[in-house]
Amino acid sequence: MMWSEKHRPASLSAMMGNEEARGQLAAWLKGWRKGARPVLLVGPPGTGKTTAAFLACEAFGYDMVGLDASDARSRSRISGVLGPVMGNAGVSGRPALIFVDEVDGIHGRADFGGAEALLRLLKEPTVPVIMAANSDASPKMKSIEKASKTLRFRPVPPRLLRAHLRRVLREEGASLSPGTEIRTAEGCGGDMRRMLNAAQSLAAGFDIPADAGQGMLDAQAGTDAFFAAGDAESALAALRAMRMDPREKIGTLFSAVATARLPPEAAARAMDAISEADLLYGRILRTKQWRLLRYMDAALAAKLHRATRGAGVRYERYGLPWQLLNRIRWDGRAVRSLCGALGRRMHASSSEFSTVYLPYLAYMVGACGAEPPDLSSEGGDGGQALAAALAKEAGARGGMPR
């Protein structure tokens, strides 16, 4: 599992950096009344905007409903998805809160009309609205800013990053040399996610080439160059120029192929190539034979490029719908603890409990009003997170608890 996912803070106060902005966000949501202005969180990637929004939501008992840049933000979509929510409850019976991630990406051509629809919505909010943006430089952002209260998120200072890094390393039973530790904390531009991704690769034995000079490609440019390449050699060159560790590289290509909607034959061949690259990487991790890495790019350039040539595959940052990503990030942990705890009581593994017990338990509680099991002795918070997870499952199984 990715460290950046696994070591996500569990509460607003457990976050690193941006104390003031977090405090203001909590105060805003705590004192929220109908008609109050939305907030806009502005700051570079990886500074905790999305995390803070979600944790605030959890802390004050809201259900997050949201959109992000991977949704086509047509006018109809915005009013279609968000309109009905206004003033209504979310799926689990808790009040709804709207979260629009990456609003600064809203002005593209595909989003024509979306910004206007959003602005209209912001004028008379009947539920709390939180937006996040990487930058507020564009002129269109000014109109959004005017309608809302801006909170600034700054890069997390290296001192705090390093403290966090050390804690994560300790919990993982891993270590880096002091020099590497400092370089990792300082070289990530205040982006927590990037720091943890880099640390995870370094701890596994991978060394990001230190001499990565000009002409290096980021994930998006590299991926697009790879799939647009006319022949296997240029595809290989694109892969070699991508400055990222192998896990991320495979993951980026995978995301692009998985969302490309290729015909079945091509999809199977492309996925097989990626599967083989992952197989090789698994072997390298186990045997620590990093020299085998050089074959990975070559194999991908040959097989994957042939399977996708001319199919118009493109970089895709998320690869999964935003709602699902959020469920993985935020519901996943609680659901899995719930299944672990109740599985132990019923002599079943967590997976078995989730598969053959939970759907029935949720149905009995949600649709038939059965008393949920007492969870107060489970988890660190008196079982509240687990009880909330069960209530959400029960709500989704038809009928509302209570």
Binding site: A268, M271, L279, R327, G343, M364, A370
Partner: protein
């Protein structure tokens, strides 16, 4: 455990060997073995889900350990333990000191033992030997062919079978009466058709159907209740994949694995079941592809990538039917 709470499967779990339904052969031999408990060998139970393997293991522990069960029974589930290291540590700590005088040995139930890789099982063999002075093991597995021979040969092996229709229907009838539910024989037979020989699933269906109908079980309620099981979601994923909708299939799979924590091997198990039921003309090829990815999940680094590649392969095979 006090309070199976809301779920009948737990509330009505047999506490004694004599209450276990079906499995006459296995239970008969086990009772004979337990007449001289001091000589009990390590045991291994194999068989499909929901037929009483874990229940029987717990009954044995209760019979042998009596009031000392709390301190003298260690329950482990290989699907939850992270690797052989965790298993070894827990077994070591548990078998560090001998049992009190009035029980013959301590008992370790290792459930879902077939979740361990062959390498881990080889290490487990040593662990079993080291602990044998103080402990007896009861190993439980779905698929005995995934257990290495040296472990099998150290255990008395018992095969648990799917619960026969007559036994299952009669047991549901007793439960219905105890829970004051109106269910005629025909509905109970309908439940059998849905659950086949999986008694746990059958009881869950009975309870959910009864709750829907406020104490009256009808055919419609039964079918709706049977569909709640998440195995059905896996079937949906397989159908989407074979129908060529890779994006939808992948999203369904990711939700099961990453939100609900379904293990990759459980996913594969239910996916295989779905393929058997759908019985496509090229079923041999489909199952072969699944076996290939079963291996790749273990050998590769990202289960999500491997499972998605498998779904893409199913899409290709679905299109070439």
């Amino acid at each position: 455990m006090a309070g199976g709470g809301v779920m009948w499967v737990e509330k009505h779990r047999p506490a004694k060997l004599s209450e276990v339904v079906g499995q006459a052969e296995a239970i008969g031999s086990i009772r004979a073995l337990l007449e001289r408990p001091a000589e009990m060998p390590h045991l291994m139970f194999s068989g499909s889900a929901g037929v009483g393997k874990t229940t029987t293991a717990l009954c044995i522990a209760r019979q042998v350990l009596g009031d000392h069960m709390r301190d003298h029974l260690l329950e482990l589930n290989a699907s939850d333990e992270r690797g052989i290291g965790m298993v070894r540590d827990k077994v070591k700590r548990f078998s560090n000191y001998a049992a009190f005088a009035d029980v013959p040995f301590k008992i370790i139930i290792l459930d879902e033992a077939d979740e361990m890789t062959a390498d881990a099982q080889t290490a487990l063999r040593r662990t079993i030997e080291d602990a044998a002075r103080v402990c007896r093991f009861i190993l439980v597995a779905n698929n005995i062919s995934k257990i290495i021979d040296p472990i099998q040969s150290r255990c008395a092996v018992f095969k648990f079978t799917a619960i026969p229709k007559g036994d299952l229907v009669a047991h549901l009838g007793r439960l219905a009466k105890a829970e004051k539910v109106a269910a005629d024989r025909k509905s109970l037979e309908e439940i059998y058709d849905q659950a086949e020989g999986d008694l746990r699933h059958a009881i869950n269906i009975l309870q959910a159907a009864a709750a829907t109908g406020s104490g009256k079980v009808t055919a419609d309620n039964i079918r709706a209740a049977a569909g709640l099981a998440r195995a059905d979601s896996v079937e949906g994923v397989v159908k989407a994949a074979m129908g060529g909708n890779l994006a939808k299939a992948r999203e369904g799979m990711v939700e099961l694995v990453k939100v609900y924590g379904m293990s990759e091997s459980d996913f594969l198990k239910y996916a295989c079941g779905a393929v058997y039921r759908a019985a496509p003309p090229n079923m041999g090829e489909v199952l072969e592809a699944m076996a290939k990815y079963d291996y790749r999940i273990l050998a590769g680094s990202s289960p999500e990538i491997q499972l998605t590649a498998m779904l893409a392969e199913l899409g290709r095979l679905g299109a070439s039917r």
